[in-house]
């Protein structure tokens, strides 16, 4: 580095330990060497940078390792050994851990010490003019310009002062015998920028610590509070896990309130447990609304809240929405999420079992379960969720002109058998248009990791399930099936002029067997049967023959169904009824794999939603904002106000001329300053030599 660096002469950059930038060290603390070395350590740049880097690394850990998940998830992921290690290191809650808070505390301390030690230097630097200069000392600097002028020194001085003022410099002058010294400075706020920036950091850290978990962590550590981990009603949570309204200085919790109900506590989730924070008022939810874009994406979430508080003359009503919270008595209430608050749903059970032709009606609320006695054994029906809208991109020609269609309400439930195995189902309430026909859609899957497999049960003329269910019942009704099978076989044989009781019985029997297979497992079961009982080379032919037999039987059964219904068949089967038959058979084939002993039809609902509120108290927030403001202002002052010094020395030169030495030092960016200095020197030279040509230097 240039050893004519002006900073050597004018700055006491005490914290710098850099070897390539030697600085004059002059400590104001020399009297207390021991005290000093601790301070020196705490305020050292090395420590500061180490803390910054360690904080960064700790923060990375917190983002890579998902925080505050249930412990069981971690055990599965890392195994019991690493789980214990990570738990002991508090890695599941990095940002709330004592060591992380300690790190922040250290940053606070280090920055404070740094300010304590540097601020006086900065303060002096921004106010004090450097007057003790001589032509000799200034000539050592990087930026110097000398000239001689004919003008008398008094004029030169006046012009120089004018020049400095015009350029926005403050200056002081001193007379040293015949030597006039003008020492000027500009941009002293740059130094203030240091103070602002670093004070800002300290203030932010204090505010952040005030709002952080520190107080809880200490209380927990001293066993004054204990986390609750059980899933129990609020009223049963013991006092040691409860916090009184004014007990906590700051907190952040959440609560879910169903429409029409109120809450006066919030839950603070900590690691694998929670605490109950009591509020000094109660919040009632009158109504929760979701509005949707045409595409079905949510447009807004809003809650109409009523605050009940003894301090209020009458309850306070207020609607909150995302980005529009309510601040009440220092508690901020935010719209955070929503859930089902126990919607009432009405169902009709259409049994898939033979001879059970009675439907059953059922009423349930979301998130409840019932025990059902089914022909397949006892089952638990667990009602998981209800959705009022299902919007999808339009795909059917009939939906022309529309970009999106709403398929209406749907419900997700699980059926758990006696052994605890469960399947998940999703049913839509109203029939949906598919390939030009209306169908009841129901999906099934073995686990939530799989996609749903769907049945699309055709709706009949009345948009009901009746015909399909009657058809299903009919093919299960062995007596009637046999009757019809016999009839049609006989008819077929007589057209072929055959009469053979035994053959007829055989045909009817195989019909019955095929239909039974079909009922149990659809085409798959049929296929398996053929594969097992027929030699390979004949499978193809036999399969086709069986298929034909089955189809004929099903068609005859369907005709019988239409006759039962009283459909007029004099013109043959209508296109609509024919299409229904195809759809019905395809779906009848799937009932075996569907696995549920009934179809659960959603017939009516009464929506009840719950709002998810986040409630916080963060008294440190204003400090954080203040600190942020200081930080930003300080950064701009440091970066964009250049601290510059200029000196103009004037003394009598040879032959009655006046000698002028102009020099300057910029604080930060030498390249920029040199550029500026050349401009300034040109201008000054111009001013001083107005009535003369030629240059100095």
């Amino acid at each position: 580095m240039d050893n004519r660096d002006p900073r050597r002469l004018i700055r006491h950059n005490r914290h710098s330990s850099s070897h390539d930038r030697p600085t004059v060290t002059q400590s104001p603390h020399k009297k207390h060497p021991q005290h000093l070395s601790l301070l020196e350590f705490l305020g050292s740049m090395n420590l500061a940078i180490t803390i910054l880097v360690v904080l960064a690394i700790a923060s990375i850990i917190g983002t890579v390792l998902q925080q505050n998940q249930p412990y069981t998830d971690y055990i599965i992921k890392f195994g019991p050994f690493w789980h214990e290690v990570f738990k002991a290191l508090d890695l599941y809650d990095v940002y709330g851990s004592l060591w992380f808070l300690g790190l922040l505390g250290f940053l606070l301390l280090s920055t404070s010490v740094c300010i304590y030690r540097n601020a006086p230097v900065m303060w002096r630097d921004m106010r004090v003019f450097r007057m003790k200069v001589t032509p000799k000392s200034l000539r050592l600097m990087h930026n110097v310009h000398e000239l001689e002028t004919d003008q008398p020194s008094e004029t030169v001085r006046q012009k120089a002062e004018q020049f400095l003022t015009r350029q926005g410099f403050r200056f002081k002058s001193r007379q040293d015998g015949e030597l006039t010294i003008l020492s000027a400075m500009k941009g002293g706020w740059n130094r203030m920028g240091y103070i602002f920036t670093h004070t800002g950091i300290v203030v932010i850290c204090i505010g952040g610590l005030m709002d952080g978990n520190l107080i809880f962590t200490i209380k927990e550590w001293r066993d004054q509070i204990r986390l609750e981990t059980r899933n129990i009603p609020v009223s049963e949570v013991p006092a040691i896990s409860r916090l009184k309204p004014d007990e906590s200085f700051s907190f952040r919790g959440s609560v879910s309130i169903p429409e029409g109900e109120r809450a006066n506590v919030v839950f603070l989730n900590v690691r694998d447990g929670y605490l109950v924070q009591e509020l000094p008022f109660a919040i009632e939810l009158k109504d929760f609304r979701i509005e949707h874009y045409p595409s079905g994406q949510p447009k807004s979430f809003e809650s109409d809240l009523v605050i009940h508080d003894d301090q209020l003359d009458k309850p306070l009503e207020k609607t909150i929405a995302v980005n529009h919270p309510l601040i009440y008595r220092g508690y901020a209430i935010y719209q955070a999420s929503f859930a089902d608050g126990g919607s009432k749903l009405e169902f009709r059970l259409w049994p898939f079992y033979e001879r059970q032709d009675e439907t059953t009606d059922l009423e349930m609320t979301v998130n409840s379960s019932v025990e059902l006695d089914t022909p397949a054994g006892p089952m638990t029906l667990e009602l998981d969720s209800f959705k009022e809208f299902n919007v999808f991109p339009a795909s059917e020609p009939e939906q022309k002109g529309k970009q999106f269609v709403n398929y209406g309400p749907s419900v997700v439930f699980r059926l758990r058998d006696a052994s605890g195995q469960a399947r998940e189902y999703q049913n839509y309430m109203s029939p949906i248009l598919q390939d030009g026909r209306y169908v009841f859609v129901t999906g099934v899957r073995e686990s939530s990791a799989e996609p749903f497999r769907f049945l699309s049960i055709p709706a009949d003329r009345d948009m009901s399930l009746k015909r399909f269910m009657a058809f299903h019942r009919l093919i299960q009704d062995t007596d009637r099936v046999r009757q019809i099978a016999v009839m049609s076989t006989r008819a077929a044989m007589s057209t072929a002029n055959l009469q053979d009781e035994k053959l007829q019985a055989n045909v009817v029997n195989s019909m019955m067997r095929l239909l039974k297979l079909f009922n149990e497992g659809g085409y798959v079961a049929l296929d398996d049967f053929i594969r097992q009982s027929v030699p390979e080379e004949k499978q193809m032919n036999v399969g086709q023959a069986y298929m034909k037999i089955l189809q004929n039987l099903l068609r005859d059964l369907y005709m019988q169904l239409l006759i039962d219904e009283g459909v007029d068949l004099s013109q043959g089967v209508s296109d609509q009824d024919a299409a229904f038959y195809d759809d019905a058979v395809n779906n009848l084939a799937g009932i075996g794999a569907y696995g549920a002993p009934f179809y659960l039809q959603l017939t009516d609902y009464e929506l009840r939603e719950a709002t998810g509120l986040q409630i916080t108290r963060s008294p440190g927030k204003d400090l954080v904002y203040l600190g942020s403001f200081l930080l930003i202002v300080g950064i701009f002052m440091m970066f964009y106000i250049a601290h510059q010094r200029l000196w103009i020395l004037i003394w009598p030169g040879n032959e009655g001329k006046t000698a002028v030495l102009f020099s300057g030092a910029g604080d930060r960016n030498r390249r920029d300053f040199t550029e500026r200095f050349v401009l300034l020197a040109d201008k000054l030279a111009g001013l001083l030599q107005k009535n003369r040509s030629g240059t100095g230097d």
């Binding site: 950059n13 914290h15 710098s16 330990s17 850099s18 930038r21 740049m45 500061a48 940078i49 910054l52 880097v53 904080l55 960064a56 923060s59 990375i60 917190g62 983002t63 890579v64 998902q66 925080q67 990095v94 940002y95 015009r166 350029q167 926005g168 952040g208 952040r252 874009y293 045409p294 595409s295 994406q297 949510p298 447009k299 807004s300 929405a321 995302v322 980005n323 529009h324 919270p325 901020a332 935010y334 955070a336 409630i615 916080t616 963060s618 927030k621 954080v624 904002y625 942020s628 930080l631 930003i632 950064i635 701009f636 970066f639 960016n669 390249r671 500026r676 401009l679 300034l680 201008k683």
Partner: protein, 392 residues
């Protein structure tokens, strides 16, 4: 659009305030403010108080920017003229994007963005040719291409803004709401910061490097558009429906853009430095930009980026306080913003108080870009959190 020398004339001339600004300066300022008043009168019903404040705050800042850096005046007027032309062509019919000649081939937002992409790629090539041939003409062409690309890029965003309202009034929003849109923003801002230093240092040698990161962004943009079909205008999720987005996101991208530029200059520094060590007379050693200047611009870019990144993070915290109920939740995106910030704070301290220069800081700036890129993209790809819009 070349850059006049007047960029260099700082206001050291202490003439009167009026005298220091040209007629063009005043026409520009009046047009800009008048435009804002018109926008305000016309769209009052769509704006809340904060948004009106942002509108006029932006207008005043842009006047300041135009006065400080003269070529930007022409840029803004060109963007305004072209955007208004497109808006006028559209009327109320979005379908015209497919049938109107100008819209279809030039200034519907998709077309403008495609032109921008092509121009940025061509400019990259031109800057490389200029770097090794030192052909002045090619250099000027490169600069002109970057200015044109930037103009079209801005037009693309402006028109997209209008298009979102044409889809449906409820869907309308400023186009800085998802990954696709902010990549465009990144390209513009990086280009502008680069152009400023190009004029300030009167050299086009840094262009090849600056344009590399822009081209990479544009490459990603095209991939995202064609492979992921990400260019559609989507309605805003409720959390994003806030005036904060208008200031938080652009501030962030001044930071990202500046850090991106700094990393590229760091790369240039490292290449040049090794080349000089190996053979001071070699082509690379002679052709690549001067080390001192690279070091200097790198520092300035990081300082600029740091200042704006600080603002952006603070704004983000204030927004989070309003939308999520806490100014700091240690959400992965937030946390990574902090990591980026700490990283550059350490960088600045090393330079300023430890006197580090050159190689180590150049390395650090390059590594810094990886940290920044992770914060910008990686978080969306690999980590979950509240900032989960703009997924890949």
């Amino acid at each position: 659009m070349s850059v006049p020398e007047s960029v260099m004339n700082e206001n050291s001339e202490q003439g009167g305030f009026l005298a220091r600004h040209s007629v063009y300066d005043w026409i520009f300022a009046v047009l800009l403010l008048a435009g804002s008043v018109v926008a305000w009168r016309k769209y009052t019903y769509l704006m809340d108080g904060y948004e009106v404040g942002i509108l006029f705050g932006t207008a005043v800042s842009l006047v300041g920017l135009g006065w400080f850096w003269k070529p930007v005046r022409t840029l803004m007027l060109a963007v305004a003229a072209l955007s208004l032309f497109a808006v006028w062509l559209y009327g109320n019919d979005l379908a015209l994007a497919e049938s109107n000649f100008f819209l279809k081939f030039l200034i519907s937002s998709q077309s403008a963005i495609m032109w921008m992409s092509a121009l940025f790629f061509m400019a990259t090539a031109a800057y490389f040719i200029h770097l090794f041939s030192r052909n002045e003409f090619v250099g000027k062409v490169a600069t002109a291409m970057v200015w044109s690309a930037t103009t079209l890029c801005f037009v693309g965003l402006m028109v997209r803004w209008r298009e979102s309202y044409l889809i449906h009034i409820d869907v309308g929003h400023i186009p800085v709401s998802n990954l696709y849109e902010v990549f465009i923003l990144f390209a513009i801002i990086t280009a502008l910061i680069y152009l400023y230093y190009e004029a300030r240092y009167r050299t086009r040698t840094m262009g090849a490097f600056a344009l590399l990161v822009i081209s990479a962004a544009v490459g990603f943009l095209l991939w995202y558009h064609f492979a992921k079909d990400a260019s559609g205008i989507q309605p805003l999720v409720p959390a994003l429906q806030s005036y904060w987005m208008k200031i938080h996101v652009p501030a962030n991208f001044v930071g990202y853009g500046a850090f991106g530029l700094a990393a590229m200059l760091g790369l240039a520094y490292l290449i040049k430095d090794s080349a000089v060590r190996r053979n001071p007379e070699g082509l690379l050693a002679r052709r690549l930009p001067e080390l001192d200047m690279l070091d200097d611009v790198m520092h300035k870019a990081i300082a600029l980026g740091f200042a704006f990144f600080t603002i952006a993070t603070v704004l983000g915290a204030m927004w989070a306080a309003e939308a999520w109920g806490g100014y700091w939740s240690w959400d992965p995106k937030e946390t990574w913003a902090l990591i980026v910030w700490l990283n550059y704070a350490a960088w600045l301290h090393m330079r300023l108080t430890k006197g580090w220069r050159g190689r180590p800081l150049a390395w650090w700036a390059v590594i810094g870009l990886f940290v920044t890129t992770f914060a910008f993209l990686g978080v969306n790809m690999f980590l979950s959190g509240l900032h989960s819009y703009g997924e890949l």
